[in-house]
Symmetry: C2
Subunit: 446 residues, 2 copies
């Protein structure tokens, strides 16, 4: 349910916000709310956590339909699909060898449960995913494997790809080697006790084992005990639940072009979030950026030459499950998608314009990029995938623009309980809106 949703045209009020919402201040100290900030605030406050396949994600779809209609988008529709649902019900871990100290732990998305009484076992310390791969079969029989390499912060988020392998495939590789369970140092760059959840892969050929992440501070605690020469034993209790045919869906809305309505400029973000936080930077800001940028690009008359389409994808976090349904449902018009871009990297300023364009089209892409220089955006390469949800479009030949945001602090909050509205920088958010709007305007009115 989306109770307390702001009513009527009030969502367009710019300065004072709706129904008495006071201007808020973000990290940059700038007064808000702008439209983008209010969208971020509304989704993360009134809907809050919205795990894919749950009633909370359904509430987010209803929320999106309402905002789109109030903002005068056309052809607003929900394009439903079903997924395998998954929810966490209980998660606890403790250092039984050292007074039963509680660890800050969270199940990885898709993990099975432990037996009801949990798993208590010695810890096998594994310094990296490479070390895990290098271990022979049987290495971890009877053990809880703890993979504890630390993610490095970087503006382009490049530390994620390296660090996330232990989350994506760690349980599979540990199980192959006899482990009872997998515990990982969180894939995150903060120094707190927030564990970072996230999707894990499964492999039908390998026995599933429970998998969880502990916070960086807790991972340090285990490393210290190991360095002291202590034999470390953990207890892990996870209770999760999976269910078939859980409803999800993409929400699609257009600002119909007046000259070439069949040609589409597509902006993407995802509606679902992890359950621990309120999904403010992942991905309410993305939703806000693409909606606000679409309107800004269309102008007050709402009459772009080509159609500007916003697609708010469902079920991104749990395996990027919305991309294929969209591509399938719109297979007939994919050749008319003149450009697709996505916003799913938080609230940092855009600093790079990458692309995937044909050689013939590169001069135009270059000219669009050149028009962003005053906003601090440099030209990136021409091998952008554009983002998770639209990767399938890129593969189908849709030209892609990838606008890289500054992700230096993004992974401090990513997939944690601490992903809340206060982490949003309203000034950087507006830079994003302006960058996306210029790009969309250029393609829509080309």
């Amino acid at each position: 349910m989306v109770r307390g949703l702001v009513a009527g045209a009030c969502v367009l009020a710019v300065v004072t916000g709706c129904v008495g919402v006071e201007p808020t201040h973000g990290p940059s100290g700038a007064p808000v709310p702008t439209l983008a900030y209010r969208i971020t605030q509304s989704l993360s406050t009134e809907v809050g956590p919205r795990l894919a396949g749950t009633p909370h994600e359904a509430a987010a779809r209803a929320w999106a339909v309402r905002w789109f209609k109030e903002l005068k988008f056309s052809r607003v529709s929900v394009e439903p699909f079903t997924i395998k649902g998954w929810v966490r019900e209980r998660e606890e871990a403790s250092i039984v060898s050292h007074g039963g100290q509680a660890l800050a732990v969270t199940a990885l998305g898709g993990s099975i449960s432990t037996p009801k009484g949990g798993i208590t076992a010695p810890v096998a310390f594994v310094a990296s995913y490479e070390d895990l791969l290098a271990a022979p079969p049987g290495s971890y029989a009877g053990k809880i494997v703890f993979v504890h390499d630390r993610m490095k912060a970087a503006r382009d988020g490049s530390g994620y790809g390296v660090a996330v392998r232990k989350r994506s495939r760690g349980a599979i590789e540990a199980a192959k080697r006899g482990a009872l369970a997998l515990v990982i140092r969180s894939v995150g760059t903060d120094q707190t006790r927030f564990p970072h959840t996230g999707h894990m892969n499964t492999d039908k050929a390998v026995k599933a084992i429970p998998a969880a992440a502990i916070s960086n501070a807790d991972a340090d605690q285990l490393e210290r005990l190991q360095a002291m020469g202590a034999a470390v034993r953990l207890k892990l209790v996870l209770k999760t639940r999976s269910f078939a045919d859980a409803p999800s869906g993409n929400v699609v809305a257009d600002i119909v072009g007046v000259e070439k309505p069949e040609e589409i400029v597509l902006l993407a973000a995802h509606l679902d979030s992890w359950d621990l936080g309120t999904g403010a930077i992942d991905d309410a800001t993305g939703v806000a950026i693409v909606v606000a940028a679409a309107l800004k690009a269309a102008g007050p008359e709402m009459k772009p030459k080509r159609t500007i389409r916003v697609v708010l994808y469902g079920a991104e976090e749990v395996g990027v499950l919305g991309g294929d349904p969209y591509a399938k449902a719109h297979a007939g018009e994919l050749s008319k998608h003149v450009m697709a871009t996505e916003a799913d990297f938080g609230t940092g300023r855009v600093w790079r314009f990458a692309s995937k364009a044909s050689e013939a089209d590169l001069p135009f892409f270059d000219s669009v990029a050149a028009g962003l220089r005053d906003l601090g955006v440099e030209r990136g390469n021409n091998s952008s995938s554009g983002g998770a949800d639209i990767a399938v479009l890129g593969k189908a030949g849709v030209p892609i623009v990838g606008l890289t945001q500054d992700g230096t602090t993004y992974f401090d909050y990513h997939h944690t309980a601490n992903d809340t509205l206060d982490k949003v920088d309203p000034v950087a958010l507006e830079q994003n809106v302006e960058v996306y709007a210029r790009v969309v305007r250029a393609f829509a009115n080309r």
Copy 2:
């Protein structure tokens, strides 16, 4: 149990640490471990959380006895006393009016349980403790009272006294006005989803109600919903347990003076911690500072003129319950306590020397303060209470030195799960040790 405790004289190793502990780096980037850092690390890692009256606090006493003996203190003793024990077993809260969003919540120390099914009720927003006091009887009948003023950060921690009133007496005052339960914005200066626990008072004349704190980010969420005009309903589920005659105790250790052994310079810190974190800055750093400073002041020969005594108090967090037992057990020698000081404010640098001295003695105190100027310490006033545990000594006429640490960030972590070793600045810790050592040396060898 304190397994994995470093063995034998190894605790005095300075550079490489004990049994393979690698040098660690703190926020200032300085390599460690010094003795003070290793004490902090050992207590917060090997013992971890040590709630008063539990086996974990008993483990901390055993830990302290072992360290004192290994560090060649004399007359090491545990002075036991009993307290009313209290533990938390379950704590959950959710915004039932808005999709059941989970709140980051923790019971206040001493809170009673809710009924098993929790309390679900509309929220009465109360902007401050003053507003709570101003409300007439019956104002909050059938409501969960939410007191949501925000604590201000300050170097001297002065925001705490103002903000903590809602935690100490909020439940009493809300109950007087008919409330079903109290929820407060955490008494803390961070912007995260860590709730801050802490002791609450009780009043036998007033019906007890359950009381809990939510994080600053969650408090903001509720404020936003209120600002949007929404009717906010919460569900609160607390399960806690109290038990009589829980063991606690103070650990006392001396470096016996060679000229006037009966005269005592007392250094205090507290051994117990809250259960959510590992009590690194509250108060493992205090323990480390006073132990390391006592040794430094005594010099390598361990032959001060007067006795240097370290008292590691028990049960500070749950109502400062160790102060009276010490004063009672040592009533006969209180007049021989020539000075008492305490360390219980984290890891920030000392910037002020306050005191409580007789007029005749002031020139000497002034000269001690003057000897700290090169360490950035200024002279404070002469009305210091010295700290919670030693306040009773000050009232009994023991001269007091109050060394004020920089507490600007202390309340970001205070009483949260996030109070862990990584928050300790090893460079500032050493400044503390040097300041305390100079003060103790001056009094011990006067």
